[in-house]
């Protein structure tokens, strides 16, 4: 018997990285939220690599934090190692990455969610949606519980019709032998959703006690770790290293000899896999002249001996995995604790979504995370956050939020997905962002805190300290613009030592800072001032002053883009009625239904002439409206 199990504003199906952010954001906005998961012990579980962040992804984590999300706070409390990457490069591409303690991460995330005022968490398997008059009204579980809500978010990751493959073994399963979600997938298909089959994989885990680390290279964390969350104050100093080793000719020979047994090469797997996360079979086949590949050994936590063999994703039979591993230096005695596997799953073709992540054909239904064809915890979390914000908006009648490509990597990610779709699991790369210099990890708070505060996602206290930081940055820039530095022998010597040339005449400190060899601390070192400003303020001042030329250029590009972005396309537009549009453009526009001319111009197959015609057509409508008689 179906029973009424309760009424909510927002229901989140799934509690992975997308689900938890969605639930958190919706609840923080004041929506009465229900989060349903198959397994309460697996909230925010990391089924693949034990790490968070890295280039582009690390910026996403900071963006999530600036909008009141959880990922940054939780990893900051549970990391076993923190590293700043790309420190030798420009400010736009510096990236923070943490090695996670998987079990602790789950525990901490669950605990944080349990503290939320408006959130209910329950263990359940959802089988179908309840739909009335073409609008989603709630969900029905396998135990016949009916939960009602005007907004439903599906964040089922790789669980939908998930299928695990190891060699010639294949069975229905979600990641890590959890139950697959089959009925929901079938239900979405019945509803007419376009689904696509993707594939990903994971490497074997080995017992640390069977590894000879002396034959590998140590990869320690940073001595003075930075953090993802702007609220984190305390560092974890007791860090655990990772280790680096390599495959060799023998490993490659074993792989080549057994290639026919790999699920990927035997034809068992039909789904499309990501190019940036290739299996070791793929690497050996596609780059056969490379004598070795890097293998990182990454501990999965403090209180476990399991070690993740990064770079060794495979779907070869278990016995071959043993043989391959043991050909590697340091792993000669390695004991596999879990075998590597490939997983195929259903995902929703993301061009079916509005940029709010609501499904176009079913108002009230949102999807977020890997179900939308992405890959990676951070990409999932970013979408979850946005879906949560917008699902709450839909339920409560408050402001929605769409980030554009100049506001954040989250904006780039969602715009790419809903505008272009993807034919492989989508991963963020810094090169996907045309305004990379503006989307830095150091300024995520400057870009987004204001928005987070307006939407009620950020506490008053945090907002206050943010405003203080902004004021300090401005003050310091003004101070440097007034401070005159006079030439002296001592200064010249310092400048020459730093690789520059001496001063000829007095110069403002701000202008001196623009020199490549001069850093902020160099300028401070010229004076005996003790009133040091916070490191993050120093960093901002230095970046904003040093790269001003490039930043201004990028802002001008953004302004040009915004002109087109602000040109809204009416929702009821009939593309068939527009004579001049090319047939391909018509089809694409009807499918994507872009919200603005800017978005339309990014659809492949819509060329500049089509964009011009669209502009003229829309303007025609505006003129028609203006010329209507006012009664």
């Amino acid at each position: 018997m179906v029973y009424d199990a309760g009424h909510f504003d927002v229901i989140v199906i799934g509690a992975g990285h997308a689900g938890v952010e969605a639930a958190n954001a919706a609840a923080r906005r004041g929506a009465k939220t229900l989060m349903l998961t198959l397994n309460l012990d697996m909230i925010a579980f990391m089924p693949c690599n034990p790490s968070v962040g890295g280039p582009a992804k690390g910026v996403v984590v900071r963006e999530i934090d600036a909008l009141g999300g959880l990922m940054g706070k939780v990893i900051d409390k549970t990391y076993i190692q923190m590293r700043m990457l790309n420190t030798g490069k420009g400010p736009a591409v510096r990236a923070l990455r943490a090695q996670a303690d998987k079990p602790l991460y789950i525990q901490e995330m669950k605990y944080q969610l349990e503290q939320l005022e408006h959130l209910t968490i329950r263990q359940a398997m959802v089988e179908r949606l309840m739909i009335e008059d073409g609008v989603c009204k709630g969900v029905l579980t396998e135990t016949k519980a009916a939960y009602y809500a005007p907004s439903v978010i599906i964040t089922t990751g790789t669980f939908m019709r998930g299928s695990v493959i190891i060699g010639d073994l294949s069975y229905e399963s979600g990641p890590n032998n959890q139950r697959a979600s089959v009925k929901l997938s079938e239900h979405l298909e019945e509803l007419g959703f376009e689904l696509v089959r993707f594939k990903t994989g994971t490497p074997p885990r080995v017992n640390a006690r069977s590894i000879d680390y002396s034959k590998t290279e140590i990869q320690p964390g940073d001595e003075n770790p930075s953090h993802f969350s702007y609220e984190t104050k305390e560092a974890i100093l007791d860090q655990i290293p990772c280790w680096l080793t390599y495959t060799n000719e023998t490993t490659h020979e074993i792989i080549n000899n057994n290639l026919g047994l790999s699920a990927m090469y035997s034809g068992m797997i039909k789904g499309t896999g990501p190019r940036y996360c290739p299996s070791i079979e793929d690497k050996v086949v596609r780059f056969h002249d490379k004598p070795r590949h890097q293998i990182f050994l990454e501990p999965e936590g403090r209180n476990t001996e399991e070690v993740y063999v990064q770079g060794f994703s495979t779907s070869l039979p278990e016995y071959v995995q043993h043989e391959m591993l043991r050909s590697i230096s340091g792993l000669e005695e390695a004991e596999i604790m879990r075998a590597g596997y490939a997983i195929e799953y259903d995902s929703v073709v993301p061009t079916q979504l509005w940029p709010t992540l609501e499904i176009k054909q079913l108002p009230g239904l949102f999807t977020a995370g890997q179900i939308n064809g992405t890959s990676g915890y951070e990409e999932a979390a970013g979408q979850g956050l946005m879906a949560g914000i917008n699902a709450a908006a839909n339920a409560l009648g408050i402001d929605t939020l769409i980030l554009d490509r100049s506001q954040g990597y989250i904006g780039v990610l969602i715009d790419d997905l809903v505008t272009k779709g993807t034919n492989e699991p989508y991963r963020l790369l810094t090169s996907r962002a045309e305004y990379r210099l503006l989307l830095r990890h150091d300024n995520a708070d400057l870009r987004l805190t204001e928005i987070g505060y307006e939407l009620g996602l950020i506490t008053e206290e945090r907002y206050k300290s943010f405003k203080e930081k902004c004021a300090l940055i401005e003050q310091e820039k003004v101070r440097l613009s007034k401070l005159t530095i006079k030439p002296s022998q001592e200064l010249d010597q310092k400048l020459i030592e730093a690789g520059g040339t001496g001063l000829r005449e007095p110069i403002k400190a701000l202008d001196l800072l623009k020199r490549p060899e001069v850093t902020y601390s160099f300028i401070v070192s010229l004076y005996e001032e003790t009133d040091a400003i916070p490191v993050e303020v120093q960093e901002q001042v230095e970046i904003q002053v040093k790269y001003e030329g490039y930043i201004v250029k990028a802002r001008q590009q953004v302004e040009r883009m915004k002109k087109m972005e602000n040109k809204a396309i009416p929702n009821q537009i009939d593309y068939d009625a527009i004579g001049g549009l090319a047939t391909e453009a018509k089809q694409k526009l009807k499918q994507v239904r872009p919200l603005s001319v800017g978005q339309a111009s990014r659809i492949s197959g819509v060329n500049p002439a089509d964009v011009s015609i669209l502009l003229v057509y829309i303007e025609q409508g505006q003129i028609a409206k203006r010329s209507e008689p006012i009664i």
């Binding site: 690599n49 280039p55 810094t430 996907r432 490549p516 010329s627």
Partner: protein, 458 residues
Amino acid sequence: MDFDTIAAISTPLGEGAIAIVRLSGDDAVNIAAQIFKGQNLTEVKSHTIHYGKIIDPESDELLEEVMVSVMRAPKTFTRQDVIEINCHGGLASVNRLLELVLHLGARLAEPGEFTKRAFLNGRIDLSQAEAVMDLIRAKTDKAMKVAVKQLDGKLSRLISQLRQDLIETVAHVEVNIDYPEYDDVEEMTEQLMLEKTKYVYSEIERLLTMARQGKILREGISTAIIGRPNVGKSSLMNTLVQENKAIVTDIPGTTRDIIEEYVNVRGVPLRLVDTAGIRETDDIVEKIGVERSRQVLKEADLILLVLNGNEALTDQDRQLFDLIKNMQAIVLINKTDLVQLIDRNEVNLLADEHQVVATALVEEAGIDQLEQAIADTFFAGQLEGSDLSYVSNVRHIQLLRQALQALDDAIHAIADGMPMDLIQIDVTRTWQLLGEIVGDTVHESLIDQLFSQFCLGK
């Protein structure tokens, strides 16, 4: 709406005696004022027309006598500030004018863009909207066809190759950024980046040089005939015209009596300039003096200096030799059918590296040698007309110039010690600009490159 300033030649190409370059946008008046010698256009009344000269502000070179109309918003076709520059002269000078305004910050108008602006600014009424859309479609398709036709296959391959070089470099930088722990690619160094950018820079420069050569081929080599009175200048001209069954296009200007005649000499198109002066007076040096000759010479790609073999060299002759120093010139010793009083040794000395040809134009002697000399001068025995692949489209030239500028920025950034990911911004921009020439700007191809070039993924 769009307030950037656009420009285009708004009269049909190659027809008519007057050509108009039109500008529309906030900067239209400013740009015109920078190249206009005459009244200060920024201060003149709206809807007025002004006589003056166009100068290249960088070289101060005089290009053209023009009439400029200044029409300020909103009572204009596009409801923006509009400038119309009326000029005479051939395709060459109109193109030059267009290039100049583009160089000063105007953007080449897209097909139908003036009309589109007129419409979007409410200048054209609703009933015409359909027509506007058709126009945009038709013009865009036509422009596309023309652009593709103008893009020679060899040139296209060359640009594609440069783009490939650039994208490999960019992918290299990107891989360092997105996969910092990937140890198989060494870090992109300033040294390597400098080599790459400088190489592409020199290649684009070469393309632009070839573009100039191509322009000469297409528009004719402007050729001036100079010499004292009665040395045989008009005979030379008549001989060249008759010998080569010239396509004579008389374009009587409205303010100047310039007649240009086109002749084709062994595949070299010559545009004989200021021929009116020669015909009517046969007396160019005497009449208007050395100064005027200097002016004619400045505009010429080739000079034919005619001497009278029947007379000794005069000071005027020697002055003319001074004028042609460092220019492409051929020296003719005419009237070899008469008694030779000229000092050949002195002529050879004065001619320096210029070729000297002996002719008796009245007897039609020496013409073969002259034509060979002309052909040698321009093809130097290595360039065959059919072998040239050059950039001819103004838009393409503009894009190449922008690409050059972007590369220049990158090279400066390297010198300034900027981080690689910032230097890369201008390199990527170059790649995109070149992509606009060959019609490929899809960003996704960078990501494809990344994954085909490197074995990535941990």
